[in-house]
Amino acid sequence: MTPRVVQARSVEEASALLRAHAPHAWPIAFGGDLLGLWKDGVRERAGDDAPLWVDLTGVPELAHIERGADGRWRLGAMVTLAQLQRSAASFAPLLAEAVERIASPQLRARSMLGGNLLQRPRCWYFRQPDIACFKKGGRGCPAVGGPPQAHPGALGSGPCHAVHPSDLATALLALDATVEIVGAGGTRELALGQLYRGAAAAREREARLAPDEVLAAVCVPPQPATQAFEKLAPRPANEFASAAAAVVLRVNEGRVAGARVALGGVASEPLLLEDACALLSGPSLERFDAAAAAGRLLRTVPALAPSRAAALCELAIERALARAAAAAG
């Protein structure tokens, strides 16, 4: 029952260990999420399985940030959030902004990119060990009909209504990042927009990884500096987002020529708002009306409109748009 912890020396070894001990093996980094789940007795499966935790923090190749020959930045999964904040300021400012709003300086010093992306939902019902729910092997979503503070997602549907809690997922989606996944068959790359597909209907993990796969790195293509991240939460620190928006604009001759706008804190995965470019192109940025633009963007997700999250989503988008546009100045 007490988890055994083994130190992996390479990603391949980690994958082999996970495969050999499936389904009772899990990768662990800092453990900011996994340890809490385990201590609280939040279990995916009943039973007396002795889990094996494969510690990735000692794998050297996972702890670097480097620029590849293709110009993309490769962020190792075991880079700490503090490291990421320092480095990303130069090549992806919105990523640095996102890190700054996560948890607290103490936790950012210790927790890691990969763990942040693969954290489990923060739904209070999921985290309550004695109440059955879909993600804990039960049926249905008890959060539906529960008190609003327990925060099921504004766009929840299906067997689990929980929101994906990662701010970095939202940020990286706007940056058009991909993730590098290492498994038995070698390395594959997956767009971040695909990583959480089907999260609401998956029991044991929200990311589309096989049990023996390791999220090794995130690759961020070069992006224009006209970008910004905004997070709204009940308090300024140590909170998960009620709404988060990440915006990357491509500006050409004073006009928006391309845009990626991602919205977090409302659904089981971060949402990439469709047609952002078309909705944002128009008059020159000098006369850019961020509030009106945010309203137009929000209407592309009709289901959001009646929810209590709509106003916050709109504000997050508006602020991020305004700052990204101002950066073009």
């Binding site: 029952m1 007490t2 985290r127 309550q128 008190p147 308090r235």
Partner: protein, 734 residues
């Protein structure tokens, strides 16, 4: 004064002559640092959670996961087979004792709230015990439960007591002629408010280490009063009082939660005897939430009547508070007296319903029942001021009570008017209408709130001062130091009385074997005011004894030689006689500025001025610490903190620090300024009152009133979260 001690109070020693009101004192009133400051910041200070005994085993409680019913099957076979496990006990596996005045043994098969104790595991490590506890298979016979006030008060609700779900029936407090006051009222304001359950969240959880030896039981325990725990534990275990010793080294926070004996004390003691080994039993953070108890959630309707000029005519309240499953702790569910005495009125009336529920019992929490009552009442006063178009400060100044409405007595000292005036001056209070300070998306507002808090709890108490080896002095008080600075102020009092420098005096506390029996517990903001005069009297007696023995210069070597010759000099003094014909109470007024974001609903408390009448302040630095900590807990109550239960199962959904929002450093205002508006009080010979609880009580309403002043909308169901504020002003069309 509680009736059982009336004779003791009458027979208590005459107070010493009062200290002079102005000047003259050398050590008392100085802002000396806390005696334990260095030990605490360096980690040298020993807390109960640091205690480790050779061969110590670890106990973990098994807690019910249903709100009402009984355990029909407690299957511990798998748990017993786990590594390191030394034993697992369910309801029927031992003859579990029953705490005094309780009917349920400390472990039993009956369940009346989620989290109730139904078994225990002991293992060689806490981890092994926790894992084994999870391997226990439980079967319940569940019964219908009432986990909210509404469920319990609904027609056809399951009864928690044969006579009904209102513990002790409806209590009515009434003074004055309400009908007449109502007839005179030109303006009547009525509003409904609700307050959530608030958790203490002590940094150090509840816990103890129990060890039996030839002399009996030694219990290291994190509590607010080691002597009372010892007496109740001996009664529970039915063993001689002399065979129980309780040691409470530094305590990592109490806030009221560690006054009373709890099942864990007796369980640890029973297991340590059963296993003939020291047993450590500490609650995990989740257990602190689900079984560490809390401030009761309440609902109330308040009616105020006044003349157009702002003379308050009546206060009429109907209050319901969640009382938990037993009438025993129901007194913590709701109260009104300190609110009713806060302002002058022709008539006051409160109807109080303490509603039995299948939730854990409420227990005292810093300003118990007063904080939630005054939080709401002081907002109603603000609503009245708004309705009358009178400055809320002016309204309060127009309604200063000179005689205590409930006791029918003049005050032993009352500087509430000075709190209003000095606080307003320090704050720069100029009344401004709601919504008048809008700065883009930031709406600024100011608010105030006041507090009255009785200082009348009485039981016998004793303190000693000794001159010991080397000519040093030791104050011996039978109290637990929960962080208020009792380790410092008693030494200041003794040094003052003895006429020696403070560094010659140390304070010994927290061990029932080597301290006299002082007050029951460090509670009700009274430790200084009650124990302090005894310390002074004991020091005075010691001084006289040393003079009789020939002491001349008070130099350490001279006194050391006296001690060598005669043995240690120890003098004790009983609690002085309480004042007669006056009512002792503390007062305060807080002034707060907030900035509310129009679109997010986020409330930032910018600054606070907290003026208090605490009588003579023994140590301004420690007083300021109390004010800051209390203000922040009041801020949490107003804006962030709430227990959230699943209304179907009664299980707590946010029993974790990340989900239960206590204020953090980024939520704290830039400044919390303490203004000492008091004067030496007539309630005791030191002129001291208290300042532990009033800062929490006054803070909440001041913040809520500032939010109203900023936004023009009033949220009456607390906490005032961003979601509720946005909903309120979208409803108000703001």
């Amino acid at each position: 004064m509680s009736a059982p001690y009336a004779d003791a109070a009458a027979a208590a020693p005459e107070p010493l002559p009062r200290w002079p009101d102005e000047g003259a004192l050398q050590v008392v009133g100085q802002a000396v640092p806390r005696a334990s400051a260095r030990a605490k910041v360096t980690g040298a200070a020993c807390f109960t959670s640091d205690v480790a005994r050779p061969g110590m085993l670890h106990a973990v409680l098994v807690r019910a996961t249903v709100a009402h019913g009984s355990v029909t099957h407690f299957d511990a076979r798998a748990a017993r087979a786990r590594p390191g496990v030394r034993g697992v006990w369910g309801p029927d596996d031992l003859r579990w004792p029953t705490l005094p005045r309780r009917s349920r043994p400390v472990i039993a098969d009956s369940v009346a709230f989620v989290g109730e104790e139904i078994g225990v595991v002991v293992a060689e490590s806490e981890l092994q015990a926790r894992e084994a506890a999870r391997a226990i298979t439980l079967t319940y016979r569940e019964q219908a439960a009432c986990v909210t006030l509404q469920q319990s008060l609904a027609d056809g609700a399951p009864l928690l007591a044969p006579e009904g779900n209102i513990a002790g029936g409806v209590e009515v407090i009434a003074r004055g002629d309400l009908a007449r006051a109502q007839a005179q009222a030109e303006v009547v304001l009525e509003a409904r408010y609700s307050t959530p359950a608030q958790h203490h969240n002590c940094l150090e959880p509840h816990g103890c280490v129990a060890q039996w030896g030839a002399d009996g039981l030694t219990l290291w325990d994190s509590n607010q009063g080691a002597h009372m725990i010892r007496e109740r534990l001996a009664a529970t275990l039915q063993c001689p009082l002399a065979s129980v010793r309780v040691i409470s080294p530094y305590v990592g926070g109490g806030f009221g939660s560690k006054i009373h004996i709890k099942p864990y004390h007796a369980i640890a003691a029973v297991l340590a005897r059963e296993l003939a080994a020291p047993v450590r039993l500490f609650m995990a953070r989740r257990e602190e939430f689900v079984a560490g108890h809390h401030r009761a959630p309440t609902e109330r309707r308040i009616r105020l009547g006044a003349t157009r000029e702002g003379r308050l005519l009546f206060v009429d309240e109907q209050i319901a508070g969640e009382a938990g499953p037993t009438p025993l702790m129901a007194f913590n569910a709701a109260g009104a007296s300190n609110g009713l005495r806060l302002h002058r009125a022709e008539a006051v009336r409160a109807e109080i319903r303490r509603v039995l529920t299948h939730t854990q019992s409420p227990i005292p929490f810093r300003g118990p029942t007063a904080a939630e009552d005054i939080f709401c009442l002081e907002q109603a006063i603000d609503e009245l001021a708004h309705a009358l178009q009178i400055d809320p400060l002016a309204l309060r100044l127009r309604n200063l009570a000179e005689v205590d409405m409930l006791a029918g007595l003049p005050y032993a000292g009352k500087e509430l008017e000075r709190c209003y005036r000095l606080g307003a001056e320090a704050f720069g209070w100029t009344h401004r209408p709601p919504c008048s300070q809008r700065d883009g998306d930031l709406w600024r507002g100011i608010g105030m709130g006041a507090v009255a808090y009785d200082a009348t709890l009485y039981e016998p108490s004793r303190a000693e001062v000794a001159c010991v080896h080397g000519g040093g002095f030791e104050v011996r008080v039978g109290i637990s130091e929960i962080g208020c600075g009792a380790d410092t102020v008693f030494a200041q009092i003794a040094a003052e009385a003895l006429g020696v420098p403070l560094d010659r005096v140390v304070t010994h506390f927290g061990d029932t074997a080597s301290t006299p029996r002082s007050i029951d517990a460090t509670n009700h903001s009274r430790t200084s005011a009650v124990v302090g005069p005894s310390v002074r009297a004991a020091a005075q007696a010691l001084k006289e004894a040393l003079l009789r023995a020939g002491a001349r210069t008070w130099q350490p070597d001279e006194l050391g030689a006296l001690v060598e010759a005669h043995g240690a000099f120890v003098c004790g003094a009983d609690r002085e006689r309480p004042p007669h014909g006056v009512f002792a109470a503390m007062f305060g007024a807080h002034f707060v500025e907030v900035a509310v974001h129009r679109r997010t609903g986020h409330v930032a408390v910018r600054r606070a001025v907290c003026a208090h009448d605490a009588g003579r302040v023994l140590n301004p630095r420690l007083a300021e610490s109390q004010v800051r900590g209390g203000f922040l807990q009041g801020l949490g109550m107003a804006l962030h903190e709430e227990r959230v239960l699943d209304p179907r199962s009664g299980a707590q959904l946010n029993a974790a620090m990340w989900a239960y929002r206590t204020p953090g450093i980024v939520d704290a205002p830039g400044s919390i300024r303490f203004v000492d508006a008091g004067r030496p009080d007539g309630g005791n010979s030191l002129g001291v009152k208290g300042i532990g609880e009033p800062p929490l009580i006054a803070a909440g309403a001041a913040i809520a009133n500032a939010v109203f002043n900023a936004t023009g909308v009033r949220v009456r169901d607390y906490p005032i979260t961003p979601d509720k504020l946005r909903a309120a002003w979208s409803g108000a069309g703001a």
